[in-house]
Amino acid sequence: MIGVGKAKQYSNVLDKPLSKGKQEVSLSAFSFLFSELVQYNQTQVDNIAELERRLEDAGYSVGARVLELLCHREKGNRRETRLLGILSFVHSTVWKVLFGKVADSLEKGTEHEDEYMISEKELLVNRFISIPKDMGTFNCGAFVAGIVRGVLDGAGFPAVVTAHFVPVEGQQRPRTTILIKFAEEVLRREARLG
């Protein structure tokens, strides 16, 4: 008989387990949507700094939700309390889920104690975007910086996160670096925990 082994019926929709969902989204669909996001924000602002802030804020909301979702799905509701723990969570798990691969590298800043850098040869969001010359150092990676800030803030590690282009010799396109600068209290807490 067909359908003998039926799935367990849930009386309440809230009792159903969260589905994994579709793992893949069309890159073109995302690129068009992101392009429209940038264009929409461009019409609302007067200068580039404002545009960057808006993209970051958009990413912040994504980051906060991604943290909740991934903590439940991937880590079995365990909370990261150490700095390196949360950084490697962002570098591997978050990147894997959002962009399909782990970030290229995670480095500690040499000049300041509170700076860490996640580098990527080319951010997925920037793949089809060419910044016109008159926009200077604007980077659409500000969206990704916002995502990272959302994740860190939600996990209890307040930080200032920015995206920068770093020119690399031998390559025409510059590398992108997400610079994470943690707040004072995070370092103090980390020192206390040993």
Partner: protein, 114 residues
Amino acid sequence: MDTNDSLRVASLWHSMHAISQQLSPTVGCSGIELLEADTFDLHCFQSLTGTKFFVVSEPGTQHMEALLKVIYELYTDYVLKNPFYEMEMPIRCELFDLNLSQAVQKDRVALLGR
């Protein structure tokens, strides 16, 4: 060839293409695909939306249709997905130029063996 000249050629070609579509003796014609002259060949590709891509090459060059299809793909990727490109304006996208010269270079190497 500077921007003004390109605009002039493009508008000339657009009008010729439209006129030829009306004048054509064959039924269901969609416009000029190939123009052969003494010193050059002009291959044209029209997308479903009516955007036309044309390539001016040396007489007798092969495989230009394939090149035009590649260029169409590059256009949809690096120009249309770029938030800083305004429709109908001349294309000033770094990535598009980069990939375009790479595609033409690859084509040249494949065809001429150098």
